[in-house]
Symmetry: C2
Subunit: 419 residues, 2 copies
Amino acid sequence: MSDLKGEILRLGQQAKKAALELGKLSAADKNRILLAMADQIEAEGAEILAANARDIGAAEAKGLSAAMVDRLLLNPKRFAAMVGGVRKVAGLPDPVGEILDDWTRPNGLRIVKKRVPIGTIGIIYESRPNVTSDAAVLCFKSGNATILRGGSEAFHSNQAIAAAMARGGRAAGMPEHAIQMVPFTDRESVRHLAEMDAYLDLIIPRGGKGLIETVVSLARMPVIKHYDGICHLFVDASADLALATEICLDAKCAKPSACNALETLLVHEAVAADFLPKVAAALTAWGVELRGDARTRDLLPEAKEATEEDWVTEYLDLILAVKVVPGLDAAIDHINTFGSRHSDGIVTGAEANANRFLAEVDSATVYVNASTRFTDGEEFGFGAEIGISTDKLHARGPMGLVELTSYKYLLYGNGQVRG
Amino acid sequence: MSDLKGEILRLGQQAKKAALELGKLSAADKNRILLAMADQIEAEGAEILAANARDIGAAEAKGLSAAMVDRLLLNPKRFAAMVGGVRKVAGLPDPVGEILDDWTRPNGLRIVKKRVPIGTIGIIYESRPNVTSDAAVLCFKSGNATILRGGSEAFHSNQAIAAAMARGGRAAGMPEHAIQMVPFTDRESVRHLAEMDAYLDLIIPRGGKGLIETVVSLARMPVIKHYDGICHLFVDASADLALATEICLDAKCAKPSACNALETLLVHEAVAADFLPKVAAALTAWGVELRGDARTRDLLPEAKEATEEDWVTEYLDLILAVKVVPGLDAAIDHINTFGSRHSDGIVTGAEANANRFLAEVDSATVYVNASTRFTDGEEFGFGAEIGISTDKLHARGPMGLVELTSYKYLLYGNGQVRG
């Protein structure tokens, strides 16, 4: 066995042991530990920012793009947000221990379904160092032991943040090894984590499609995936067109890099001649490039030609694919064929169409007369989120603390046998 | 692309399309279709039993063991139970459409969390032909499209049962391709199914550890695993020893081949000298072979010596591993170290010990003063089950219709934008 694999197995065994201890903590225990972690991160701010400066220096020396370097950067504002995030999680309700169901069978056996932590969670992420504390504290609050494996570019930042969390947490009574950081950043460490199903109950990859694909192809345990958001808006024949324009602008332009941002606009042919020139003018004023099908380009000659590729592309940029469709059925069919089951909306004045859209579009979050940008743990009122699941198993859509839990059945008998 | 891969991709595409149609069916539609399937299976009984006779003949010619041949056999009683199973599922409540949550955000956006089918489910199974209808009708009732891939030994039986279901269902309005049978039984077909994450939302392997391991190592989509049940009973110092004996006999002897049968007995040292000779006499009368640790063998010299291997073995036979432990902590630690997180129980008169056992044993179902044999969908009152999940994600313990569903969020706005 390689040293690397042995080391990762050791982390896994320690995490499993820590998980059993974490299950015994009360909400008050966990909140006290979280506040101590926040204080310690704050106290070690100078060291953490110095470690970050080392990563930034290395990234610049390696010639990483300005956008990549910016993702790595911890400036005082981001650092304060990171500390604030930890304190905020301390204030959220603890989902663990909730009684989900409770019934008694005819033979007198009482069955109680109780919410419990999942156990051990691996978080594999890329360049943003704030994921270290964001992910770890959500897993900790929901009673899970965490193994973090960050990207090589943020190595020193991640180590410094994790060390501060561990010091602050341990001093306040955190079980040993509740939050561990893998001290390696090579690809092989991902493989060893993904194959360690004896000790990891779940892996959550946080990053680009390439990382998620790698984890999915290697993992032997469940993986919750946060894939692309190829989000659609369908403007129906009965839509309030001013409202449709406002929603379209918000969904496309307010934060084009978000996974819940609009990528494809579908317009009912009955309103296309009226709506498209108006919305195009507004979008163009925001600097949006339009790529349309033939019928769109008849009405908007300035639009580029959309290819098949455009219907399946998450631009994450000021680009919008536009298609004129004959009606609701075609819109639903387009979304179920080319979409990514993330967030899709209809603007309509017809309740029957709204209901059909909600029922038949197979996506995590489906909207009537609102921007797709509300697919977000904060906007849902979850207080925080670990991501937006594009899976249909276990958790779908925004994942908060509740989605980081499992359940167990407690059976109370007085001598029942099945015979 | 090989013909095999192409054919399986085609099944996947058809299943995805069928799933969208299945989502539109009412409970009444589905129940009518299920009853028509049951009638058709019954009407084609002679053909199905003839197909089964062909499989049995081939199995005997190949020299399969008597137990293997028996697993394949559809006799009139088993055939009637299969048909009855389909009718029973028609009578169960439909979980789809349930409103799981409903709240309105301060901005007026209403969020409704609604139960929906998972979508498309692959069932990969081994020799028992009744799994064909059992699994397919549970998936159908919960609104999912199913692709079945049975074992080679039951090929003709499976094809005949699936064809009857399809004919009966289609005549009653079942969407085309709602239930499909893979017409291949070679290993490569498992690989192609497991890699087809574009079209399959979930795979459930039904069979031995080897099959599950293969699916887990290949699958790119979620897999719900039904691994071993290494079930424990801990007899505490305060246990009613007559009750403990009765529970132990039921859990070990009533059906030793069940996954919820007892495999390891842990006895508190304070009652070992009193309890062990009594329970051993009762177990031996049932033909149970005992394998004990040193302290057990001091009290039961006739017991064989237990090795480390015994603590992690699912015997599925009239064999029981026995260990004397110093107390509750050691019992919990043994179970969390060597168990399989399936079903574990305590017999005790001390409520505090019961509560600690329930809280600290990390298993799907944890019992106080009852036999572990109640870990079963029927016994839980679910009406039917597709298996017992040993996973902690999505579904844990007995899986009924509800566990074959997902959810989606419906967002009702009146022009909300995030800005």
